[in-house]
Symmetry: C2
Subunit: 335 residues, 2 copies
Amino acid sequence: MKLAEQVIAGDRLALARMLSLVENDTPQGRSELDELFPHTGRAHLVGITGAPGTGKSSLVNQLAYAFRHPIDGSSPLRVAVIAVDPSSPFSGGALLGDRVRMRDLVGDPGVFIRSMASRGALGGLARNTAAVAQVFDAAGFEIILIETVGAGQGEVDIARLAHTTIVVEAPGLGDDIQAIKAGILEIADILVINKADRPGVEQTERALRAMLELAKPERIVMHHGRLAVLSYQEEENEAARVWKPFIMKTIALRGEGVQELAQAVREHGEHLRRNGEWQRRELERLDAELQGLVQAELVARWRERVPEETYQSILQQVIKRTISPYQAVVKLLEK
Amino acid sequence: MKLAEQVIAGDRLALARMLSLVENDTPQGRSELDELFPHTGRAHLVGITGAPGTGKSSLVNQLAYAFRHPIDGSSPLRVAVIAVDPSSPFSGGALLGDRVRMRDLVGDPGVFIRSMASRGALGGLARNTAAVAQVFDAAGFEIILIETVGAGQGEVDIARLAHTTIVVEAPGLGDDIQAIKAGILEIADILVINKADRPGVEQTERALRAMLELAKPERIVMHHGRLAVLSYQEEENEAARVWKPFIMKTIALRGEGVQELAQAVREHGEHLRRNGEWQRRELERLDAELQGLVQAELVARWRERVPEETYQSILQQVIKRTISPYQAVVKLLEK
């Protein structure tokens, strides 16, 4: 049986091997992924993001557990966790300390956890994460939790990858953290204040609420990857399909509020499916992925065409200020 | 007189206009930049980075003041500040609250401050920042302070752009912030603990010191943009030109420790010039810039070749799972 077929049949060893092939972007990985791709499109991708110190990893672990053991009578879902760790861009080493807390999930065949180290460019990481998510999707995992550290562009890339984006905050992480929140809030479908037993929780909630008001998500929609402001007519038609981000409180270490969060994630998925938003996010996601792949391939092909010594000699002319970088580009693309 | 000549002659209005042209990446901006480029290569680029809440912006303002008013008998230097704000990736709006604290610098012709909003991709932002820095360089600014928020890839891009990288920390910003520090520490030439009058400063210093030991920078060097571990023979030759990152404490709001920091930055610049490291960083910087420009141009030319409807129809096949993303790339590049 081919590797792709074994993955679809639910073989965990085949899955692990496939993930490695795909994560390292090998030619075999690419062709196996071609086989898997027709079987994708069913999983619910959930991005979980937030600054260090918010207890995000513990929350992800608890959330996985909640999807496996729902208390509201719904069926348990198969859960994959992709932990993306861009914390060490040079060393490429993922810090897996938090993963040891996952003993409740160990041995559960309905759970698969994969830690990805950041290798090189952020664009490459986003591409690899998309591919890894596709493997889990084809293997029948219904919920894929994608956890990332960091702030800024990384979050935007997740938002493009995920159907549902959870932004995690915690009380007492510094006062002018607001600067960064403004951007992150715009991509949040659900805002979580974790460590909600800590002092300062009311203050954090007030601040988040104020920013949510400011963001006025009901007048702004994504359109071809850009934000668009709606006219008042469009606004009325839009109102039915707009999801208003809200705030939930959790104490991940004690599991408090986590079942409710899992429920909210499921509701968001249903909301997206009900009004066509699921398809729209799917389109934007695959569009972004396709553009990224084209870009990577264009660069790879160009590198094959232009000999290294040609590149180096033109770079030397730039360093000597004989030609400008733009003039160098023109020369390099003439070749 | 041409715009580029006016900029070189020190005309502030021409400078402001040039910055806008270059920041928006207009064709005129590109050709003016070609004119300016031979006049670049003298400025000392200093990257200042750190998480929100570290008081980084106040420190940048104080540092600019310290370079303008040195107390060690050295001459005042002309200072440009580039505030890169990727906090709001969608709205593109820069939060300039901190800039109002800069009243000490207002009216000083030896200072120029430019805030850049993040527009679209992070790669694009890095390219624009490089171009803006070149304009300031050609205009005769001797110190260019580049301030960024965020964590992860953004910092690495600054390290490539800057001769000197300052990483700013502050006491009490959460406990597992360490995860992110590991990566950032590797790019730091100088580590600053700001808000050093706050409780917990000894703890922060101990943690940073422990991580510096772990990083063992004396055995690891940058080689063609990658980290390389030295053999023991190489190590001896290397020892003379290795800069050991160290920790400084500041209280930016009261200006404490800032003159010393400015001095340390100047010393780092002299160190780089003394042992050829300046040229090496210059090479890596222009190499990264050139590669980024080539990539952007390849994509732009490809977009011109492939009609939008062709792209959309292939994307639709991917969405219907008729073909995989990789198969789509092959089709798109055949055109």
